[in-house]
């Protein structure tokens, strides 16, 4: 089975102190640590597991500058066979739809049975590229997938719905699935593992290699525009409890007693 996995390099912001940059349209990236998008790490792991089970070839593909190579190398170290980086000044500032167009142009030239993407990206959270890509390629898709069973012609997949419910679908190949976190346990990649693939070639393609018109990609090919960004308004007003752990604990126990928690 030929599997293509689309991945994105994103800043880790969960514990970072974010600042807004001069444009007012993005956060300052200096000082932030970047890594493979969490959803994508589950997608690449799932692709490698499918390959290990039934043979095949895994190609990992990312839109981004030279810095995106480190994520592609991580995927190669995990077990992907090939890596492609799509890079061009014309791709910059793309929204989800414009990104999907770049991916579809490059993927359309490759043999594939299955395409995996993350359900969404940690940074902009559109959750849109996978579905848009499937539509552009004219193949069936399923989103928010948390289980896959594959045979030669079709897949049986579980989709995560709300409230702990799942739906089970059968889907013909070739197909695109967007992968939900928790579907597997992504394998750990050591620095040694990444070193081993340091010399592996990452194929680089630009706008000229793809049959795309300028106004179909990047900022000019986007349907949406970010006007500005801001910090969310502070809502509510939690009463803050301060002190050393013992003082805090005593305070909390008193609150619990007060609220009927410690009868």
């Amino acid at each position: 089975m030929n599997i293509i996995v689309c991945v994105k390099r994103v800043p880790e912001t969960a514990e970072a102190d974010l600042m807004i940059d001069k444009t007012g349209k993005d956060v300052m990236k200096s000082g932030l640590v970047f890594d493979l998008n969490e959803w994508d790490s589950y997608a690449i792991e799932e692709a490698i597991r499918l390959k290990e089970k039934q043979g095949g070839h895994v190609t990992v593909i990312s839109v981004g500058g030279e810095e995106a190579s480190e994520c592609l190398r991580k995927c190669l170290a995990m077990g992907a066979d090939d890596a492609v980086r799509l890079t061009d000044p014309a791709f910059e500032g793309a929204d989800a739809h414009a990104t999907a167009r770049v991916l579809s142009e490059s993927i359309g030239k490759l043999p594939f049975d299955l395409i995996l993407t993350g359900t969404q990206a940690e940074d902009d959270g559109y959750g849109q590229v996978g579905g848009a890509l499937a539509e552009l390629l004219g193949i069936p898709h399923a989103t928010v997938v948390n289980q896959i069973e594959a045979d030669a012609k079709k897949l049986k997949v579980h989709r995560e719905l709300e409230g702990g419910l799942e739906e089970i679908l059968e889907i013909d190949l070739p197909a695109l699935l967007t992968i939900q976190t928790g579907i597997n346990e992504p394998r750990y990649v050591s620095i040694m593992g990444i070193r081993k693939v340091a010399k592996k070639e990452i194929k680089v393609l630009g706008a000229k290699d793809l049959t795309l018109v300028a106004n179909e990609t990047g900022l000019s090919g986007s349907d949406t525009r970010i006007e500005k960004i801001s910090f969310p308004p502070t809502t509510g007003a939690a009463r803050m409890i301060e002190g050393n752990p013992e003082e805090v604990a005593l305070n909390v126990i008193n609150i619990l007693k007060d609220k009927g928690g410690l009868a």
Binding site: T143, R159, G163, I168, T181, R225, E227, I255, L262
Partner: protein, 326 residues
């Protein structure tokens, strides 16, 4: 006319809450535009269910077909593409749900409609719209506009838009013929699967002590569980803990897990992603412990502690045990 369409979402014979949230927002937008809001209901035998939407939209377009009995993005996309192409609403609203995530991106590409997903704010601006989205895990709000003319497509986040009560509209229910023809679908529904319940039903607990990503590893969970037990509470968690298989799915609070309303909810190392907050905001008293003073959980908590949970939880456990022994 600059009409607003709302895709009414239902599952297993019930309207999803997002349907009413979108109809309420859609009506407000329609009033701003001097136009109308219309619901679009697709299904099999949903005519009686549609009665519950009466009064909430000017028109209710109803498409009934055996092939629409359960949601399938392929059939839904075919029906909606035809409806939107024929009637050209200025804006179509779809929930940013498992349904909308499967449908909206494809529909937008097919009809070349500008799409913005997972919006938490939405206002009319001239003949277009301005949306608020959350980026970087909710730490930043992004104001987004469309660069191209409509018709537009938006997906709205569940729980982000309030349902406001207004006078009933004279809803006209308009049955439409199904455009579906006997084609083979490349995606076929096989069935639903309910997540297995854990040993305990967290929705029944009066006190929940909930752990999140901040717990760092499964080896740190026992001390939180012991604290929970010392105060007569039950252990629950947020999504990352289930993703990492540290606790079973039945313990998860949030959109894709359980909605809980305990008397007391103690959030330990949970930053408070929107999808988590939706599942616990009905709690009586919320106490949050987190090392990040900017964590959104403090926005819904009644009491907050900024600090190291690995020091605070053992101290809490100790105090609770002392109290018990007295």
């Amino acid at each position: 006319m600059k009409e607003i369409f709302v895709l009414a979402e239902h599952r297993q014979g019930q309207w999803r809450d997002i349907t009413f949230e979108m109809l309420s927002k859609g009506r407000q937008l329609a009033e701003s535009l001097g136009s109308e809001v219309h619901a679009v209901a697709l299904g099999k035998g949903v005519a009686c269910l549609t009665e519950a939407l009466r009064g909430l939209a000017h028109r209710i377009f109803l498409v009934e077909d055996d092939r629409l009995e359960v949601f399938n993005s392929e059939t839904y996309q075919t029906v909606l593409a035809q409806l939107i192409t024929e009637r050209k609403p200025l804006l179509t609203l779809i929930g940013h749900s498992a349904l909308g995530m499967d449908l909206a991106p494809n529909l937008a590409v097919q009809l070349k409609m500008p799409l913005a997903t997972d919006c938490i704010g939405l206002e009319v601006k001239e003949d277009s719209f301005v949306m608020t989205r959350q980026i970087y895990g909710g730490k930043i709000h992004s104001i987004v506009s469309f660069k191209k003319p409509g018709p537009y497509l938006l997906t709205l986040r569940a729980g982000a838009f309030p349902v406001t009560q207004k006078d009933s509209l004279q809803s006209e229910i308009i049955p439409l013929p199904s455009p579906l023809t006997d084609g083979n679908l490349s995606k076929r529904f096989l069935g639903y699967l309910e997540a297995a319940l854990g040993d305990v039903d967290i929705t029944q607990a009066d006190i929940l002590v909930s752990v999140g990503r901040g717990i760092k590893g499964p080896e740190n969970i026992p001390v939180v569980k012991e604290f929970a037990e010392a105060i007569g509470g039950t252990l629950s968690c947020s999504r990352p803990v289930v993703d990492k298989k540290w606790l079973p799915k039945g313990c998860q609070v949030g959109t894709s897990g359980k909605t809980v309303k305990p008397k007391i909810y103690i959030a330990v190392g949970i930053s408070g992603a929107f999808q988590h907050i939706v599942g616990m905001k009905g709690a009586g008293t919320v106490i949050a412990i987190n090392k990040d003073p900017k964590a959104p959980i403090f926005g819904v908590a009644h009491y907050g502690i900024v600090g190291d949970l690995f020091k605070i939880i053992p101290a809490l456990k100790q105090k609770a045990k002392e109290l018990r022994q007295r």
